[in-house]
C-alpha cells in the first residue's frame, strides 16, 4: 500500500519533470517534419510549414528594414515561416560561435568578411554552389569581385549583401556654420587634424572636432595600406613600429589640443551609433562604413543636420590609395540546415528581388546586382544617392582589399583597443607600449595559426 503511494507520487513527479522536456521537444517537431516536403506535397501541407531562423547584426534601422523585407517574402511564400534573431554588433559573433558549437545555429547567418574564412574552413557554412547551379540562387548579375570575396577554397559560401567603403562622416551644418570648405578627395591626415582643431577652437569646450578613433583597428589599417604594407602578412603583423607610432602620434597631438574626445568619453563610445559624439551633437567628424551613413543619419539628435561622407585622408607621399571596396555583409547558410533550398531562396530574394531590394535600399551597402543598382538609381533618397556616389568615387581610386583577417584577429583587435587606451590615459610610454603590443600580438597570431 505504502509502496503504491510512493509509486504514484514518483510517477507524478517524474512526469512533471519529463513533461517539461517533451513539451519543448514537440515544439520543434513541425520543423523537423517539414524537412520532407521537398518531395511530393502531402495533403496536410498547410500544417507543415518550413521554419527558418535568420540572424543578423545591425542598427534599429536595419532591423526594421530587414523584418519588412522578410515579411514580404513570407507573403509570397506562405509555406515558409522566418524567425528573425537580430542584435547589435557587440557580442554577435560570441553568440554565433556558441550556437555553432551547440549545432543550433540559425539557418541563415549574416557573415562578416573578417570571420568568413574561419567559419567556412570549419564546415559551419552551407556550400551554395549547388543552388547557383540549380537556379534557386541567381548570381549572374553580381559583381564578379564580390563573388570572389564570398568564395573560400573554390566554394561559394557567402553572398554579398552590399558594397561598402570606409570614409569620414561629418556634419555639414557645423562645417557650413564655421565656413569650413567640404574636404575634397585629395585631403591629407594633416588637413584632417587642422580641421578638427579649427572646429574645436571655434566651438569651445564640450564640443570636439572628431571622435577619437585611435583604437579602431580597421582605420589604422588604411594608414598601413597607404604606406604600402598590409596590416597582416603571412599570419603576423605586417604593420611596422613606425606605422604604429605615426598613427598614435597623430591622435596624441589631436588629444593634446582637445580636438578629439577625452579618454573617458572615448571609453563610453561603442559601435552603437547612438553613442557617437557626432550623433549626440558633441562632435563634428567620425569614421564609418559608407552604408552606415543611413543609420548614422537616423541616429542624429539634430535630424536637420545632413551628414556628408568623404574618403579617408591621404598620407603625404603615400605609396598607394588606402581605400578599398569591401563586401559589407554576407548572407550565408548554416551547413546543418534542414532546408538548404529554402535558405538559398531567401538569400536570392534578399539580393535579387526588385521589391525586397527596394525596401532594403543601400542600408547594407550598394547592391551587388547590377540590374537592381540601375533600377534603384532613379528612386534614391538624398543619403542613398550620396552613398552610391561615394562608392563610385572610391571605385575610381582604390587598391585591392586585403585577405580576410587571420585567426586570432579578435584578440589582437581587443589588445589594440587596450593599447590605444594606455596611450590615451597616459599609462606607460608610447614606444614601450607599442613594442609590447607587437610582441604579444605576434605570439597570439602564431599560436592561432
Amino acid at each position: 500500500m505504502i509502496k503504491n503511494k510512493f509509486g504514484i507520487v514518483m510517477v507524478l513527479s517524474l512526469s512533471l519533470i519529463f513533461g517539461g522536456c517533451s513539451a519543448q521537444g514537440s515544439k520543434e517537431q513541425p520543423g523537423a517534419g517539414a524537412s520532407t516536403d521537398n518531395g511530393s506535397g502531402s495533403s496536410d501541407s498547410n500544417s507543415q510549414k518550413v521554419e527558418l531562423r535568420i540572424t543578423w547584426w545591425g542598427s534599429q534601422t536595419r532591423h526594421d528594414l530587414t523584418i519588412k523585407a522578410l515579411e514580404l517574402f513570407q507573403q509570397k511564400h506562405p509555406d515558409i515561416v522566418i524567425k528573425p534573431e537580430y542584435s547589435g554588433w557587440d557580442g554577435y559573433f560570441d553568440k554565433l560561435s556558441t550556437q555553432v558549437a551547440g549545432a543550433n545555429a540559425p539557418d541563415l547567418i549574416q557573415m562578416d568578411y573578417a570571420f568568413l574564412t574561419d567559419y567556412a574552413n570549419r564546415d559551419a557554412l552551407l556550400d551554395l554552389d549547388t543552388y547557383t547551379q540549380s537556379g534557386d540562387l541567381k548570381i549572374d548579375k553580381h559583381d564578379p569581385s564580390m563573388i570572389t570575396a564570398g568564395t573560400v577554397n573554390d566554394k561559394l559560401y557567402a553572398i554579398t549583401l552590399g558594397v561598402n567603403a570606409p570614409g569620414v562622416v561629418y556634419s555639414s551644418k557645423v562645417f557650413k556654420e564655421l565656413n569650413i570648405a567640404d574636404p575634397d578627395t585629395s585631403w591629407t591626415w594633416e588637413d584632417f587634424a587642422k580641421i578638427a582643431q579649427q572646429i574645436k577652437d571655434a566651438k569651445g569646450d564640450g564640443y570636439v572636432g572628431a571622435a577619437d578613433n585611435s583604437g579602431t583597428f580597421n582605420i589604422f589599417q588604411i594608414m598601413v595600406r597607404q604606406s604600402g604594407r598590409a596590416l597582416f602578412e603571412d599570419g603576423q603583423l605586417g604593420a611596422t613600429k613606425e606605422d604604429f607610432s605615426n598613427w598614435f602620434q597623430l591622435w596624441n597631438d589631436l588629444r593634446a589640443g582637445g580636438a578629439i574626445t577625452s579618454p573617458e568619453a572615448t571609453a563610453t563610445m561603442t559601435t552603437a551609433l547612438e553613442t557617437r559624439p557626432l550623433a549626440l551633437g558633441t562632435g563634428a567628424m567620425d569614421f564609418t562604413w559608407s552604408n552606415q551613413l543611413i543609420a548614422f543619419q537616423k541616429a542624429m539628435k539634430d535630424s536637420d543636420d545632413l551628414l556628408k561622407i568623404q574618403v579617408l585622408p591621404h598620407l603625404k607621399g603615400e605609396v598607394k590609395s588606402g581605400e578599398y571596396l569591401k563586401p559589407g555583409q554576407f548572407m550565408s547558410g548554416y551547413s546543418k540546415t534542414q532546408h538548404p533550398k529554402e535558405v538559398a531562396m531567401v538569400i536570392d530574394f534578399l539580393v535579387n528581388d526588385p521589391e525586397a531590394t527596394a525596401i532594403l535600399g543601400s542600408e547594407r551597402g550598394v547592391p551587388v546586382n547590377s540590374d537592381i543598382r540601375a533600377q534603384m538609381a532613379s528612386t534614391l533618397s538624398e543619403t542613398d544617392q550620396m552613398i552610391f556616389n561615394f562608392v563610385d568615387t572610391v571605385a575610381k581610386d582604390k587598391s585591392d582589399i586585403d585577405p580576410p583577417y587571420p585567426q586570432g584577429f579578435s584578440e589582437v583587435d581587443k589588445n589594440f583597443r587596450t593599447l590605444s587606451e594606455q596611450i590615451a590615459f597616459g599609462q606607460g610610454e608610447l614606444s614601450g607600449n607599442i613594442d609590447e603590443f607587437m610582441t604579444s600580438s605576434n605570439s597570439v597570431l602564431s599560436k592561432a595559426k
Binding site: F6, Y119, K414
Partner: protein, 314 residues
C-alpha cells in the same frame, strides 16, 4: 557554487550506497532521481568535459587536439592579462565582500530595533538583491554613474566637477563594487534572522551589570552572530569570485577602460567565446575553482578560531 557542489554529491552518493539495500530507502533514491539525473547530466558531465577540454586546444568550431598542460603553463607564465584579471578580481572581492557584509549587518541592526512596518522595509531592501544581477540594473548603473549621469549632475549642483565614474580606469572597478554593495539584501535577511535568535535576556542581564549599547554589541551580538557571519562570508566570497554580469555590461563586454574591470570570469568568457580558445577558458575555470576552493578552505580552517557556536559546535 562550484566548490560547494563538488563536495556535496560525494557525501550524498556514499550515503545512498550504504542504504540502497533497504527497501524503504529505495523510495528515497527514486525521489532523488530527478536531482541525480540532473546532477550527472547537467553538472557532472560538463564539469568533466571541461577538465578534458582544459588539456586541449578546443576552439568551439574545430575539434579539440590534446596539448597536455600547456594551457596551464601559458596562463601562469606568459599571459599578462591573466595576471591583470586576477588582480582586478582580488581587488573586487576584497573591497566588496567586507563592505557588503558591514553594510548588511548595519541595516539588519537598524531593522532589528522593532520598528513598525518591518516587513515592508525588509522587502524594499531585499529588492536590489533580486534585481542586482540583472542586465537592466547594470545598464541603469552605467547611466547613473556616467559622465553626465544623475550622480554627476547632483555633484555639479554642489559645485563638484566629477569624472565619468564608469569610464575612468581609476574608478570603474569601484563603481562595480558599489553596485555589489548595494545588493546587500540577501545577507541582510540572513543577519536579521540571526539577530532575532539572540535571546533578549542576555541584553537584560548585561544591562543590569551596567553594559552599554556598544559593549553589548561587541560582547553579545557579534559573538553569537559569528556563525551567520561565517556563512555569509563564505557565500559572498564564492559568488564574488565568479562575478560577471556587472563588469560585462558596464564595460560593454570589453573589461575596459584599460582592462580595469576585466574580471576573471569576464576574461574567461572572452577567451572562450570571443577569442575561440575554449580549451584555455576551461583551464581558467579550473584554476578559478582551485582559487575559490583555497579561500573556502582557509575560511573554514580559520573559523575554528573565531566562530562561536552556542551549543559548543555540536
Amino acid at each position: 557554487m562550484t566548490a560547494s557542489s563538488m563536495t556535496k554529491p560525494q557525501k550524498r552518493s556514499k550515503r545512498a550506497k550504504k542504504s540502497a539495500a533497504s527497501p524503504n530507502n529505495r523510495a528515497a533514491l527514486f525521489f532523488l532521481a530527478p536531482w541525480l539525473i540532473g546532477l550527472i547530466c547537467l553538472t557532472l558531465g560538463p564539469v568533466l568535459a571541461s577538465l578534458y577540454f582544459s588539456l586541449t586546444d578546443y576552439s568551439i568550431l574545430a575539434s579539440p587536439n590534446w596539448v597536455g598542460l600547456s594551457n596551464y603553463t601559458e596562463m601562469l607564465t606568459a599571459d599578462k592579462l591573466f595576471g591583470t584579471s586576477l588582480k582586478v578580481t582580488f581587488t573586487y572581492v576584497f573591497a566588496s565582500v567586507p563592505l557588503k557584509l558591514i553594510f548588511a549587518l548595519g541595516v539588519a541592526l537598524l531593522l532589528n530595533k522593532g520598528i513598525k512596518g518591518l516587513g515592508i522595509y525588509r522587502t524594499i531592501y531585499y529588492i536590489p538583491s533580486l534585481l542586482g544581477g540583472s542586465i537592466a540594473i547594470s545598464m541603469l548603473w552605467r547611466k547613473m554613474l556616467g559622465g553626465d549621469g544623475l550622480v554627476n549632475q547632483v555633484l555639479l549642483k554642489v559645485g563638484i566637477h566629477a569624472p565619468d565614474w564608469v569610464a575612468n580606469p581609476k574608478y570603474a572597478l569601484y563603481s562595480i563594487v558599489l553596485l555589489s554593495v548595494w545588493q546587500f539584501g540577501s545577507s541582510m535577511i540572513i543577519f536579521l534572522s540571526g539577530l532575532k535568535q539572540i535571546p533578549s535576556d542576555y541584553y537584560e542581564a548585561s544591562s543590569v551589570d551596567g553594559a552599554g549599547k556598544i559593549r553589548q554589541f561587541w560582547s553579545i551580538t557579534l559573538p553569537i552572530l559569528t556563525p551567520v557571519i561565517f556563512f555569509n562570508l563564505v557565500m559572498q566570497i564564492i559568488t564574488s569570485f565568479q562575478s560577471f554580469t556587472q563588469a560585462f555590461v558596464i564595460s560593454n563586454g570589453s573589461g575596459g577602460p584599460l582592462n580595469s574591470t576585466l574580471m576573471y570570469s569576464l576574461y574567461l568568457y572572452k577567451k572562450g567565446f570571443a577569442f575561440f580558445q575554449m580549451g584555455y577558458a576551461s583551464a581558467m575555470a579550473w584554476v578559478l575553482l582551485l582559487i575559490i576552493g583555497c579561500f573556502t578552505f582557509i575560511i573554514f580552517r580559520s573559523s575554528r578560531g573565531w566562530v562561536h557556536y552556542e551549543d559548543g559546535g555540536k
